[in-house]
């Protein structure tokens, strides 16, 4: 494991290695070196299985964190490779040539977060949505409830009371002020 960390650091500037639990670790790589790093991990380090790829919206910091989960079956070790990209210009290298299913994840991230993967097959096609006109919905500044309330009719006639407020009204209304 030590030499893996070292060679990753030396080759691709991988940093922030963190063992999350037995058999799982996370590390961070710059987005520019991401694809090469993943290729090396796949071909040289035995991390041949891509479990999933996803993104996390770090709205507060203005970045998207990309996470690629790889697994080395021989060693029984999983590695979460993180990378960060600017939230305003979310473009990153496509890895669809590394794994044959990667394009689906990329298509998903394009639709859900608006992250672009130039060259990835069908990346601009709709994935799960149809006729979606809102912003990429997994972004944290998209409010699902507000959208739902504005778009889909609800059955009227619901009302609820807060116990404390209700008791105040019932038991000591004079202190309303």
């Amino acid at each position: 494991m030590k030499e893996l960390i070292t060679s990753l650091a030396n080759r691709y500037g991988v940093r922030d290695w963190k063992d999350l639990k037995a058999g799982q670790a996370a590390c961070f790589v710059d987005s520019g070196r991401l694809r090469d790093c993943l290729r090396w991990l796949r071909d040289e380090a035995g991390y041949a299985h891509l479990s999933f790829a996803t993104a996390i919206d770090q709205l507060e910091r203005g970045v998207f964190t990309l996470t690629y989960a790889l697994r080395n079956h021989e060693r029984g070790h999983s590695l979460l490779v993180h990378s960060e990209i600017d939230r305003t210009r979310p473009v990153v290298d496509s890895i669809h040539r590394l794994w044959a299913q990667a394009w689906t994840y990329q298509r998903e991230m394009k639709e859900w977060y608006g992250i672009d993967f130039p060259g990835s097959p069908r990346v601009d096609e709709e994935f799960v949505l149809e006729g979606w006109q809102g912003p990429p919905m997994m972004r944290r500044d998209f409010d699902s409830l507000a959208y739902s309330d504005a778009t889909y009719a609800e059955r009227p006639g619901r009302a609820s009371s807060d116990p404390a407020e209700h008791m105040k009204r019932e038991l000591y209304p004079e202190e309303q002020a």
Binding site: R155, A159, D162, P163, A164, M167, E170
Partner: protein, 607 residues
């Protein structure tokens, strides 16, 4: 591919000669499993309407709605959950979390209708066919999403405690407090029960989040005695707490959230020097002057809130220190003086002027006071002890409970002797008994009724007993007698007295009333005590009010409106003097209310 591949498939026909799998009448023959999560049921009587079900429901399927015939009362909001089956997902988290354990689910699962509007109902209130269902999902034994057990409070052990006046209760550590605060579901049932209507869920949240300054601020919004109340409050809120409804994991009644200890935790954790960071300062001077008579909790609370509004406040106190009954009526081991001093010091730091050793009616008259101030608040409390009202109650060894406590506060020698009888069942009786214990006495507590009827805080009773006091229930004092000379003649024995008391039994005189003790004829005992402490209550002393002051008095108490106003517009009164509840928090609430009313009055005057 071989011949078997052609023949073997015909084995399907074997099934044709067996019994079909089909259930003949599925709807009738297959009731839900005993644990089935079917439609909701609710024991509307046990439910307290706390809304934890609403809070945990991720579907917003539950509304709390008022129910006819279930008025709001202490510890019950009068609201009941209404389930929307257009939302529910039958996860039963509402059942798991329900503090009272009233919610459950039947094993009924068929509900079909052409009208989509009908799928909303209030279980237990609107009758449904499955209301009586015995089967269905209930919380598993020993499984409760909310912790029914409070974080144990570290206390001195009783053997050690009785040796000194050290504070018994040590207070929560940060970790303990946060864990205890975590138990709160913020339902707010407690708020109505608190005479001061403190924002209890708010400050508990502050504890949980570690925002103690914020918490302190919330405390001071309605109560300027957090240190004191955090120790000795009668905590009616805890009786109302929804977490204490129902049973805990062990089958015992669940513990309510230790609201009082959390309040104390906040106040303890913030140094007086840091109060200024958290708390508001007084408004600029309004130019109005207010006098407060009596520096008890009520008086000082009024003073605090008046001062916050910028009024000049003078507090007149006949004793040599502030706090009233908090100081002189409550022993140090329950409320150490530094804690009380901290509360008072903050009030003073705002500019409240307290004049000690100044008794209205002696040093100056109420009329003068009223003339020289824009408003006056009377919070003189109940300084006059009730007498035992039996023959011989003027015996010199019959002492007054409050006086004994005050003497202890002042550090005076108590001179109780070796054996003490405490007559009464209130908190003063317990405090006196425990003070006597600390003075090294053997203590008997004589009470007319049963232990369960005692007005004292159950904790106090428990602790008094644990510290060695003997509780004599159903004992009606008949007479206090001087000790005959031949007995008295033991050398070195302090002068004592004989207490004659009659054993009683409880008799249910009228339905709905509480049972009354009735003496058992002939069962009269006579015991000898060195001192007899009478702690059966106190009354007001309104000698300082002259008829010309224009304050209407009925049954020895000034008549006041809900905001504390007496029949004279500029004079207000509150606290034990007028309030039936006779506890510190009620006095503080009165003071606060009166302060607000007086402020309105003063402002109106200004314009």
């Amino acid at each position: 591919m071989n011949i078997k591949d052609f023949i073997a498939p015909f084995a399907v026909w074997k099934r044709a000669f067996e019994k079909p799998f089909t259930v003949r009448k599925p709807i009738d023959e297959r009731p839900g499993a005993p644990r089935y999560r079917g439609f909701h049921i609710n024991d509307a009587k046990a439910c307290v309407g706390c809304g934890s079900c609403e809070a945990i429901c991720m579907n917003q399927a539950i509304d709390l709605v008022p129910v006819a015939g279930l008025p709001a009362k202490e510890g019950d909001s009068g609201l009941r959950p209404r389930v929307d089956y257009g939302r529910c997902c039958w996860c039963a988290l509402c059942v798991d979390i329900c503090p009272s354990g009233s919610l459950g689910m039947s094993n009924e699962y068929v509900w079909v209708d052409a009208d989509p509007e009908v799928f909303r109902y209030t279980p237990g209130v609107e009758a449904k066919p499955w209301d009586k269902s015995e089967l269905g999902y209930r919380r598993a034994e020993g499984y409760r999403l909310l912790d029914g057990q409070r974080v144990a409070m570290p206390e001195l052990d009783h053997q050690a405690a009785v040796q000194s006046f050290l504070e018994l209760v040590r207070g929560y550590s940060r970790q303990q407090a946060e864990r205890e605060a975590d138990r709160c579901v913020a339902c707010g049932l407690c708020v109505a029960s608190c005479p001061a209507h403190m924002d209890i869920p708010g400050y508990i949240k502050a504890v949980r989040d570690g925002q103690l300054d914020e918490g302190l601020n919330l405390l001071y919004e309605t109560n300027p005695f957090p240190e004191a109340c955090g120790r000795i409050c009668t905590h009616r809120c805890e009786a109302a707490c929804s977490i204490g409804a129902g049973t805990g994991a062990d089958g015992e009644p669940a513990d309510p959230v230790a609201i009082r200890w959390l309040k104390r935790y906040i106040a303890d954790q913030v140094e007086l020097a840091d109060y200024g960071r958290a708390l508001p300062r007084a408004e600029p001077d309004s130019g109005r002057r207010v006098a407060v008579v009596g520096a008890g909790p009520g008086g000082l609370a009024a003073a605090y809130y008046l001062r916050l509004q910028g009024h000049a406040v003078t507090v007149l106190e006949k004793d040599e220190a502030g706090g009233g009954m908090l100081r002189y009526g409550i022993p140090e081991y329950r409320l150490p003086y530094p804690a009380l001093d901290k509360d008072i010091a903050w009030i003073q730091s705002l500019g409240v002027d307290i004049r000690y050793g100044t008794a209205v009616g002696v040093d100056l008259s109420l009329a003068d006071l009223a003339a020289s101030h824009d408003a006056v608040y009377l919070s003189t409390g109940l300084p006059a002890p009730y007498r035992l009202d039996v023959p011989g109650d003027d015996h010199p060894r019959v002492l007054d409970g409050v006086a004994v406590l005050a003497a202890a506060t002042r550090g005076q020698s108590l001179g109780l002797g070796k054996t003490v009888a405490v007559v009464g069942g209130g908190n003063v009786a317990m405090d006196a008994a425990r003070t006597a214990l600390r003075a090294g006495c053997a203590v008997d507590i004589l009470y007319r009724r049963r232990e369960a009827d005692m007005p004292a805080d159950p904790d106090e009773i428990r602790e008094a007993k644990a510290e060695g006091a003997r509780l004599v229930e159903k004992a009606i004092p008949l007479e206090v007698k001087a000790i005959p000379l031949e007995v008295k003649a033991i050398p070195g024995d302090p002068a004592g007295a004989l207490v004659a008391w009659n054993e009683a039994r409880m008799v249910q005189k009228e339905d709905g009333q509480r049972p009354v003790p009735e003496p058992i004829p002939g069962a009269v005992h006579e015991d000898r005590y060195d001192s007899i402490i009478a702690a059966i209550g106190q009354g007001p002393d309104l000698a300082f009010v002259a008829e010309s002051d224009g304050i209407e008095i009925r049954r020895f108490k000034p008549v006041v409106a809900s905001d504390g106003r007496t029949s004279r517009a500029t004079i207000f009164a509150g606290g034990d003097l007028t309030n039936e509840r006779k506890d510190a928090i009620s006095a503080i609430a009165d003071g606060h209310r009166a302060a607000l009313a007086m402020d309105r009055l003063l402002r109106a005057k200004g314009n």
